[in-house]
């Protein structure tokens, strides 16, 4: 080492992952580092590739619903919903009123559950351990509610083409109301522990700024796009289901503690969205009518020849399905436009010249799920 200046040392390539606690799954980041500074971070994906799109070409439309559970496994209800809505758009199916309301309640509950994991693990990445347990405690209530409806706690397979699998079980509404009453004050706890914690703000404010035009250019959607100050939510702007009947706000990043579009803004949008989801569920609980929970359809679903593209607002962004039907019982081609896929592609751009520790914050704030990236 004697006689060598520090400037002579080359850049060091470091593999972060595929097995790493803060990559949120099996993701490998190839880091070109100059000391602690990351000059380039190249994501390598595909470790979880299960060729779901190829499988879809061999099975029936109904059989594919459980596969959608395994895309974004933290928001299986939303995946179910997006897929069934796509097939319904292709076939022109009217879904009964009651089923529509049940679907919205489930989707919004799952949005809360998914955001809770996002917030909890984001804290965990940065060293705030306690909120993680709090978030999982609240999520447990939601999983119990889902278990009442469909028996599953992660991969629900609850929605059906034309409606939902089962009606709400007795006592569900009371427990749901109890949960909402319990949940809203808890958000204040997260804010005290995390959101406005000085150390947390120092770690996230102004870190990994994602400008709005870059976000659009990379196809970033969901809370990450809204964190950059773009007021865009499919539930409001291109409404589907019965969302126009509900009043709710679209939270956007304002750069309250740093710059617009920083990691804190993306986090804060999620916190606020949970409260908006509570609003939607409360309204849906008041309005829900009785009646059928599934449209009358033949056992074997055979959509007409044609093709359709549909996207829905998932907790992580816009999940799109592109289905081409040749009139047979299985799709000719089924393409999944996964929100996390696009959200991760911007990572290389916004992670340049930050410290390795900041990289963890940026990745955590993007909130990716590898299940839908690799498919």
């Amino acid at each position: 080492m004697k006689g060598r200046d520090w400037k002579e040392y080359d850049e060091l390539n470091v593999n972060m992952g595929p097995q790493h606690p803060s990559t949120h799954g099996v993701l490998r980041l190839l880091l070109k580092t100059d000391g602690e500074i990351v000059k380039e971070a190249i994501p390598h994906i595909g470790y979880l590739h299960r060729s779901i799109e190829k499988i879809a070409e061999k099975i029936s439309y109904t059989q594919f619903i459980p596969y959608t559970d395994r895309l974004d496994y933290l928001a299986a209800m939303n995946n179910n919903l997006a897929y069934t809505l796509t097939v319904e758009k292709l076939m022109g199916i009217e879904v009964p009123e009651r089923a529509q309301y049940i679907r919205v309640i489930m989707a919004e509950l799952n949005r809360i559950a998914s955001h809770l994991v996002a917030i909890g693990t984001f804290g965990l990445d940065l060293g705030v351990v306690t909120p993680f347990f709090y978030a999982f405690r609240e999520r447990e209530y939601i999983l119990d509610l889902f278990e009442m409806c469909c028996g599953a706690r992660l991969t629900y397979n609850y929605m059906r083409i034309g409606g939902v699998a089962n009606d709400l079980p007795p006592g569900f509404m009371d427990r749901l109301k109890d949960f909402l009453d319990y949940f809203v004050p808890r958000v204040e706890e997260y804010n005290q522990l995390m959101s406005f914690n000085k150390i947390f703000i120092e770690r996230t404010a102004g870190i990994g700024v994602l400008p709005a035009d870059v976000a659009k250019n990379y196809g970033v959607t969901g809370p990450n796009l809204r964190g950059s100050g773009v007021k865009w939510d499919l539930r409001k702007n291109l409404p589907y289901c019965i969302y126009p009947r509900f009043e709710f706000n679209i939270p956007v990043g304002t750069g309250m503690v740093g710059k617009v579009g920083d990691s804190w803004d993306r986090y804060w949008v999620r916190v606020q969205e949970m409260l908006e989801s509570v609003k939607i569920i409360r309204q849906a609980m008041e309005q829900i009518p009785g009646g059928d929970i599934r449209a009358k359809l033949p056992r074997l679903i055979k959509p007409p020849v044609g093709e359709v593209f549909f996207r829905a607002e998932n907790p992580r962004g816009e999940l799109g399905f592109y289905i081409i039907s040749d009139g047979s019982p299985s799709p000719y081609r089924l393409k999944i436009r996964a929100p996390s896929f696009c959200n991760l592609s911007v990572f290389e751009e916004i992670s340049r010249d930050w410290m390795i520790a900041d990289l963890v914050a940026i990745l955590g704030s993007l909130d990716i799920v590898l299940g839908e990236i690799d498919r």
């Binding site: 994906i45 595909g46 590739h49 060729s51 799109e53 190829k54 758009k89 292709l90 870059v214 659009k216 250019n217 990379y218 196809g219 773009v230 865009w232 702007n237 291109l238 044609g306 093709e307 359709v308 593209f309 996207r311 816009e318 799109g320 592109y322 081409i324 000719y332 081609r333 393409k335 436009r337 896929f341 696009c342 592609s345 911007v346 751009e349 690799d374 498919r375």
Partner: protein, 155 residues
């Protein structure tokens, strides 16, 4: 903006680009000549009135007579969408990249290359994305044969 108005604008600016227009489909689409793809993409993004600022997805489709690449594009500013299609020959599918128009195309084109073997000319880093680098063949093609083994492991 109306779908027909967008089509008229493309016709006006790049007369030879359009092969087929289908307005009756659930999502109306425009089929364009592969060599005009990049120019059309630039027009759609650059023209103030159209302002397609987002590329949602690129999907390959393997038809018996062609490999079709489908582009779903969207404008947040004007809240309208468009579907573009290009037909490529099955034996040598090649088309210009749109990565220089929408950055989102980078990963989507890599995926289409990986699973369909479509070569996007001018792409800065065209390599496999989901499958291992040494994988042979393009699995989403209809005539794909599954390999019996991979590195000595039975599949």
């Amino acid at each position: 903006m109306e779908f027909s108005r967008i089509v008229d604008l493309i016709r006006e600016k790049i007369p030879q680009a359009i092969i087929e227009v289908n307005e009756k489909a659930i999502d109306p689409f425009v089929k364009i000549r592969p060599d005009h793809l990049n120019a059309v993409a630039r027009l759609l993004k650059g023209e103030e009135e159209i302002g397609m600022d987002m590329l949602l997805s690129i999907s390959g489709v393997d038809y018996p007579e062609s490999i079709t690449v489908v582009y779903h594009i969207f404008s947040i500013k004007n809240n309208h969408s468009l579907v573009l299609k290009v037909d490529l020959p099955r034996d040598n599918p090649k088309v210009d990249t749109v990565e220089n128009v929408w950055k989102a195309a980078n990963w989507h084109e890599r995926e289409t290359y990986d699973l369909f073997g479509v070569v996007f000319e001018g792409h800065p880093d065209l390599r496999r994305i989901l499958l291992p680098d040494d994988w042979e063949g393009h699995p989403l093609r209809k005539d794909y044969k599954y390999p019996p083994t991979y590195h000595g492991l039975t599949l």
